[in-house]
Amino acid sequence: MSYSKPSFKESYGNFINGKFVAPIGGQYFENRSPIDNSIIAKYPRSQQEDVDAALDAANAAKKSWGNTSVTERATMLNKVADIIEANLEEFALVETCDNGKPIRETLNADIPLSADHWRYFAACIRAEEGTASELDQNTLSLNIKEPLGVVGQIIPWNFPLLMLSWKLPPALATGNCVVLKPAEQTPSSATLLMEKIAEVFPPGVLNIIHGFGPEAGKPLASSAKVDKVAFTGETTTGQLIMQYASKNLNPVTMELGGKSPNIFFNSVMDHDDAFLDKAIEGAVLFAFNQGEVCTCPSRLLVQEDIYDAFMERVVARTKAIVQENPYDVNTMVGAQASNDQYEKIQSYLKIGVEEGAKVLCGGSAASLSGENANGFYIQPTILEGHNKMRVFQEEIFGPVVCVTKFKDEAEAIEIANDTLYGLGAGVWSRDAHQLYQIPRAIEAGRVWVNCYHAYPAHAPFGGYKKSGFGRENHLMMMDHYRQNKNMLISYDKNKLGFF
């Protein structure tokens, strides 16, 4: 079964104070589909004044929204989930068109998971409680959670609706108003969502600004009108946003990517069974979402005594990947999200080979036929080499995995941790001791054990080292969007006796 490109209006606006508005300066940019490089629509090229308008709307709404009961806030979040679910196919098509990822991913992963994150935080905010401690017979300490106020959020283009659904629900559930800037490569699904949920929240609670980083992202991140900034992206911009936040003494959370090791111990090949089949798929998950995942398992570490046999099956499975029209439900790997990514990945393939990496499969751009000949496709690629090569150390953000072998547990841990980053990792083994000890030794915020690329709402996600700080998903994320009000109450009628 195959779908085709969905239809769009000629241009869209920013969503500010509950309605769509044109950018004040009247400038727009053209957004294209990486599937065939065709035009999707024009989106606002917002400037400082547009960002200010959104922030003013958010600030005007924050008092009333912060005082809205959790029952009402949760009901609204659940409504958003219902709307996403009711329009699943439409969202999936728009997302595939804008990002280039295959429709089977958007239908089965991006969109259903997005709905679930809204529901999860609707549930969390209803279920949680503050704390009360009786410090002595007459003194009570009450901890009440209060919203920060207005939050600025800047999200990436690899999972446009899902990243929006990671960031918005916890901020809104906890009573904050938000100004969110989608990535300029992928403004479409956020816009579609605002069309569908325009009436759900009171005006000003949720605002979406489109535009470029230096023109719209920077004014949002540096504004004194925000109380917190959440960012997913790369390290230089991460540092810049932290600098701006330091001027305002604002908290920030950062998710800045990784170079995640996926480690396979020899016991995975003890039997040729369903688990081995799962492990091989686990190694091939580097190609999931065209490798455009912060936690892409882009370093494959295989124990030396199973290396040849294991890799033979991984290469065969990789070669069986279907890379065709992303609108076709059988397609497994689609287009890279933009031309500059496509060029960057090819540049990495070149330096990898120059450094001595051996190409086990793939190794170059892929050409598709018909209209898709103008799209940005890269063959799923396996490079064999060693951990000091640049392709082992930098986030390529393409369907490229770099494989190396290790002798024993100590060497596996040493290689796994020899990286600037610490976002994700995978450990595969049938040995119960390894399944606990190795994940504990890896410096990463998420270690998948005998699985990979699962992102349930109830499991916290975030980085060690240069991958950032703060956590997303899970109810612990709500505290990244709140103040703690401590009320220290005395029930003692007697004075201290000092004065």
Binding site: A183, F212, T237, C294, E354
Partner: protein
């Protein structure tokens, strides 16, 4: 000898951006999404200190990389080029529908010897 160079087309874009922003720096990013790409920023916008290595000067602009990252990159030569694209960072060329990218090659023997001596 240099560790970093720039193509003519990329230098033209730098010059064009310099008309509005006279004092610029390049900073090599790492990490997610648009990471591993050079960012062109107003010089007074980005806090630099001893942890940033000055790789060289291209088109009159200083090119920096964080020390940690440099340790993994130092055996390679970088050339800044420009391509059509749309990054999601704060780099100044993005509104032009363009993106700076890096082409890399290994330092040759002569360059390696030179830089080993220099450091």
């Amino acid at each position: 000898m240099n560790r970093v160079a720039i193509t003519e087309q990329a230098a033209t874009i730098v010059a064009q951006i310099q008309e509005k922003n006279p004092t610029l720096i390049f900073h090599q990013s790492g990490g997610c999404c648009d990471g591993s790409s050079p960012m062109l920023l107003p010089a007074d916008d980005f806090y630099l200190d001893d942890s940033d290595i000055l790789l060289g000067e291209i088109a009159g602009i200083k090119y920096y990389m964080n020390q940690d990252q440099y340790e993994y990159w130092k055996h390679t030569h970088l050339t800044v080029d420009i391509t059509e694209g749309r990054g999601a960072s704060f780099s100044l060329e993005i509104p032009l529908g363009l993106r700076f990218i890096i082409h890399s090659r290994l330092l040759n023997e002569e360059e390696t010897a030179y830089f080993n001596k220099a450091t």
